[in-house]
Symmetry: D3
Subunit: 244 residues, 6 copies
């Protein structure tokens, strides 16, 4: 199986052209003509995980390894450390980031993982009517997304509508038209802004809300892989946070 | 007491010229010639708090109310909502942000609140030798900073040196030369980067690490206020987060 | 009557989307949901005028109060001084600037006030054949626009065609295809440029050429206001210049 | 006499390095090695004037002929029309603009032409105590600067201090610390701003306030020219405005 | 014959709108209304050539005389030296640069001068199948383009496909999909890049590959000139390089 | 021997801070703590050469491998192809580019290789009086720099002074104050500009003029290497050009 073939399949599933300007989705490491032995799917890469991956494989991640372009490959940053390991083991890397956020991931997490009837899609924001108490919503969110500690910014006791953006969506706050916004990486000033705008926030975790990328993509690739007598290996990057 | 006089005192304590380019510290609302009845000190402003403040007062906050310059005063943003209330009650506002971070706040939190022997100052980063287990450090940090849930990114079991930046310091990660970095608003990608760089992170909270601004400034102003037969009123903005 | 309703009517008269990039037309102070007691129309705002305006009113002006975005509300600039007064009296402000220049104002001043048969519209420039001596043109312009001292840059004795841009149009000189250009705020280097290009200039005054905004808008709103049993109050900002 | 020699003398009188970034003072047309037959001094160039100037001369003007750099020499702009005439007659051009404004011209106009005791210089702004009625000031200004129609923005009846910037100085308004500001090219919005700031304005004309450049420079060059048995010819560009 | 007429004819042949953003094709010196006695065509201008050209002529060149806009006409650069000569002799200049590269010149040189069956055009790149040894290709290129010393970067012995860009095309290397690229002005780092990409380069000379502009344009203008009883004079700028 | 040690020695020889803003000199691949088995010196890297280099070595080149920062490591560019090979063989790379041009290389080539008495250094330009015929100069240059075909732009028969910039120096033409300029990568428009400015050009080749970097650096490192019982291996990148 050549990288080019898989790239074409992925592009049919979620066109790379959909990505935002600042994004770096696509083939990040490797060549279109390279042959691939195994295919791995993961939210992210980390150093421990790469040890387990076989040489001449392809990894498909959600987050691009490289964001800021590299001028020197000599410091100890996350990108350069992992880049070196990939090159040494001839591992290729494709990332599907903002393109699949928009085309699939938000809706998948909202409907299939959380189980709410999300309908409206507006770029990165999806919205649903839920009509339940905040308490009940908190309970569902903790269970379904497997969140240990749920950080809440409370502006309402009862929630009619929720909006959802997986990952890190707080820059979208001015466009939220719902009682409650579910997203990850909520910072202090975001919370102050939400209170002034009378919006409730639930921090669903960048990791916890996007870890579902792997099962989603696996399912989307299933038919294609079967036809080629292949299976993708789902491999979990670790949640970097502990709570005490 | 005229605003100009207090401004001069504050500028002697921590020159406004020290602020970063992108900051907006200084007299944000009001006129230098206005007379001031009461002086309030707070980390931040919120709508409930303003109800309690007397007209013709001055508030001194840590965070500037306006960051992005305003072209329209008609939306429902935090800045414009509060701005209107201040103007209606003739309340003036001075903010001391990155200038006092550098000149006092980091060192105050590090030495007097946390009780460690911080010595080296490098702009926004202070460093100390502590030589203790991560467990013990976590315990001290939770107690001294009154943190309910401590988010940790664990790269070591034993910590020789710590670095500290109050507020939101993760953009400084590449410059950290310590085993463990204490700061607030730690996001998922920050955590992944720290693991690759083998740095331990403790999320000490933007709110919890900077709420001490009020007692700090009150102490710095004490002598001046006494000479003028005045007292500053410390007024607490509320922590926007709940944990469950 | 809600601001939102009037905004919609104004937007139907002259869509705010027509405005230039650098402009700030639209709802500048106030909220779409606010109710409005009185409606005032004026070319501009000044401090004396605001004293006469009732609280909870809406003012519709031609010139936007805010051009350069505001970071501090503590200096003594025109914008901030007036902004404070508006907020204190709960007065809302909508400005219709380059959108109505293009859609109505130039043509209204050219045809109805000056009485010439303007036909061609090219963005901010309208053109007419007039075929008369410069002397006669000067006489008409002074009378119709009520100009005390008419500043002229004379390149012809006889004028076949004139172009007109109300307000401050001299940056458009390279696009003028007429013997004579009527606009306001003509500066010295503009005049030198016009002489080299053999174009005659008549300075019709920024104030004198745009004061007609109020009667124009009043007429455009008449039907809507009648249906709502309302009347707009035309209120005149003062010409800041005296001549001696 | 070579251009280089005269350039050196001018540079000693008022260093070209003093000019603002956006300015284009210096040798604009001609070569440093060219020999010069006659020297002319003028505020500006115009097409009629160039007819009277002898070939192989040097003109020294206040305003630079070229501001926006030229990509095509085929349109009918002021700069390109005059540039062609200069080249055809081998006339060289040196301009002394913001350098001489700062070093001499403002002070010369303020003290020697207007006759006030200006003392403080702050870049382009000079300031004097005058203590007289606005009426009396208006009378003096009209007489001394030979102004036919004096445009006034009136904020006071009695003037203690005046500030002066020759030419077009209204962008300096926020820095004016005087009751009354004398400058040229005052536009409508400048006037509105001045009223809000309670500053009186007198429009002393861009042309009328800078025409004195020629006599000033002639005097500054006198000694050098005498030593070389030369005389500079003062040649007047025409005021482009007529008033009716 | 007026310049405007010839400009229109040229614009029909190869629309000036086709030019790249950074280009300066069009009427560079002269006015659309000027009458033209003689028409000259040349790749470029040089000082010797201008001596031979009659006053009141029009020159049509491939390369624009002015690239960087001019602020001063007093240094000894190529552009300003020649500009002065053109103005003094009332010679007008039109340049047809990237527009005619794309519409005609590449294809003319590829098919009619080199004699290969170029078919695909992709902006500035044309491609042909040739199927011959590099040696044979080198021989043909030297003969047909009259190249004395042929600089080669050799990555193949046998060439299936060639790409061609006249003038200076090395910035297009990443887009070349052929074994061998023919262009001029090949620099050292370009050559190193080509070796890594396994592309053969033949340096066909900026001058040698574009000197054919004159005969091409002459042919394209023939009919129009005949109808006006005119002939264009082809005048050769000199190759600046000697080889030893 | 650690990379850090060698880096320090190189920085003492020619401080990396001397480099131009756009340059990327320094440690480009590898880590300061890595140990180095062999040290190689070369003008440049190419794929053939890397095969011969032992793993865990350090290469010191003149030209930085990476100029444009990299976002993807999947295309077939020179930089990414070679980067992968370096990483796979654990080869580190330091480049000394514009810093050593200024501090040593120009003077070394001018005095020791060419044998002229260069004296004045002005950034990248060195100048010498030579007083000889162009013919004689051409002969010396060809011999000393081992240039097969010498490309000349001839403006003089006799040369009093020469300027020299190794590599690609034509952007410096406006600053050349000599009869003749020796540099590499001379393009057609550079040549036309030189003729207008009456400067003679000799194209001394980017490769031919900088290949001496290796012997120069070897000599500068000799003492340090001896003290560490090491020898540097000089390895020649190949001249990419053939002439026919």
């Amino acid at each position: 199986m050549k990288i080019e073939d898989i790239y074409t399949v992925l592009n049919n599933i979620s066109p790379f052209e959909l990505q935002e300007k600042w994004d770096n989705s696509g083939l990040i490491v490797g060549n279109f003509n390279d042959k691939v032995k195994e295919i791995y799917i993961s939210l992210d890469l980390d150093l421990k995980m790469i040890k387990k991956i076989k040489p001449n494989s392809l990894i498909i991640t959600h987050h691009p390894l490289i964001f800021s372009p590299l001028k020197k490959i000599n410091n100890d940053s996350y990108s350069t450390k992992i880049l070196k390991k990939l090159i040494k083991k001839d591992i290729s890397l494709i990332s599907m980031h903002t393109n699949i956020d928009k085309s699939h991931l938000n809706m998948y997490v909202g409907r299939e993982i959380l189980g709410f009837d999300f309908k409206k899609i507006d770029d990165f924001i999806i919205t649903a009517n839920i009509n339940m108490s905040l308490k009940k919503l908190q309970k569902i969110v903790k269970e379904k997304l497997n969140i240990k500690i749920l950080k809440t910014v409370k502006s309402h006791k009862y929630i009619n509508t929720i909006a959802l953006t997986t990952g890190s969506g707080m820059s979208l706050l001015p466009y939220i038209k719902a009682d409650c916004f579910l997203t990850g990486d909520i910072k202090y000033h975001d919370a102050m802004e939400a209170i002034a705008r009378e919006i409730t926030l639930l921090d669903i975790g960048h990791y916890e809300s996007e870890i579902h990328f792997s099962t989603l993509l696996n399912r989307l690739l299933e038919k294609y892989l079967k036809n080629n007598d292949k299976k993708a290996i789902i491999i979990a990057s670790q949640n970097p946070f502990n709570y005490k």
